[in-house]
Symmetry: C2
Subunit: 246 residues, 2 copies
Amino acid sequence: VNRGQVITSRRNPQVVAAAGLHQVSERRERRLTLLEGPHLVGEAIAAGIRLEVVFALADTEIPPGSRLPLDIVSVTEPVLERIAGTRSPSGPIAVMEIPPSLPLANQPTVVLCGVADPGNSGTLIRTAAAFGYQVAVTPGSADPWAPKVLRAAAGGHFRTQISRIDQSPAEAIARAGLTGIALVVHGGDALDLPFDGLPALLVGSEAHGLDAECFAAASHRVTIPMAAGESLNAAVSGAIAMYHYR
Amino acid sequence: VNRGQVITSRRNPQVVAAAGLHQVSERRERRLTLLEGPHLVGEAIAAGIRLEVVFALADTEIPPGSRLPLDIVSVTEPVLERIAGTRSPSGPIAVMEIPPSLPLANQPTVVLCGVADPGNSGTLIRTAAAFGYQVAVTPGSADPWAPKVLRAAAGGHFRTQISRIDQSPAEAIARAGLTGIALVVHGGDALDLPFDGLPALLVGSEAHGLDAECFAAASHRVTIPMAAGESLNAAVSGAIAMYHYR
């Protein structure tokens, strides 16, 4: 554990490199992302995730008993703010390797089909981990490894598989032997319709619903019954469906 | 409809009075709150909610056919920003009367017991409206009439009853003839335990769970089954329980 020197310059190359990870292009290219806050960093360490480095204020106490097979770099508050991109960040910020995206397994799955809100994406990932679902993400969705998504998922990323679908969702679902079930606001079947195999639940964007590619991946369409004129948040409807089919 | 003059001063008394409604104390005292954005203002108008005034940029088009029994005050962008408290607010901002808090009815109910996050509170209110639940809110929760809660609820406020519980939750629930059911993370019964009457689902804070007063209001404790070590967002667990007992 290296706590000898304190970085005081916001232009330090290591600081600039970390702050760059707020950009999706940098995250993709370098296969790294940022974990912000003691809770999330603690969850990652507990899950045995490989962290490249942890930045923390010089006076941050490292809880006794934490296994920290990594460098802790002490920084000043302005430097921590530069890395966090926010004022008064709450505690350590870690740089984490993004795990490789594996093909979908034959396992209950939630597919984020254009879910653009980072809070909703993170909540869906957290719920997927709680109910034993793997997560698939189409290109029109929020980057699942964005710091805001990681924060909303509260550690769910470390306990479930997250796959990017870059080709057609229909192909990825078929290859894994799953049954595509689209969640639609109106006009779908009841949730308890019978189907064969394990579900791949397709959750669309709140603003625009499911796009044509995601519809093409669904052999069934289901609607959560609700009062006339009402709607549900995308994370809530995905969660109810995951709960129902768990 | 008064669109004669344009307010250009951020110190205009009407502007200052509206901007003050970001403070909970002002909302309580004046029984008014703010609705931000075309979607929410449109929902309120459609629901027949009484609006005191709508502030909008001078060039905002009023959609033909909208019934607008109210004053529209034209303002400049800096003035709209002052009222919104954010940069580049998206469209009109309305001042709305907060409806009176009625006693709980004998009807399915979700009780927000210390839910402090405005996004979670709003999502719970939206979900309650979708599944036909009334909403009760304890003093330790986010103000249900805060602009952020209104935004997250996407119009749910206009289509369900929202009651403040200022005395004991146990008393309010008993007086309405409801059965208090606490949602707990660990150790509760299965959701399908039998009970008499209609449920009052008690949802606690994510950080601290339910407080002693809310526990005292529950005759049953239930836990949503999930993988070991996992947890759910408060809005998600409340939504799953509302769906289950709808």
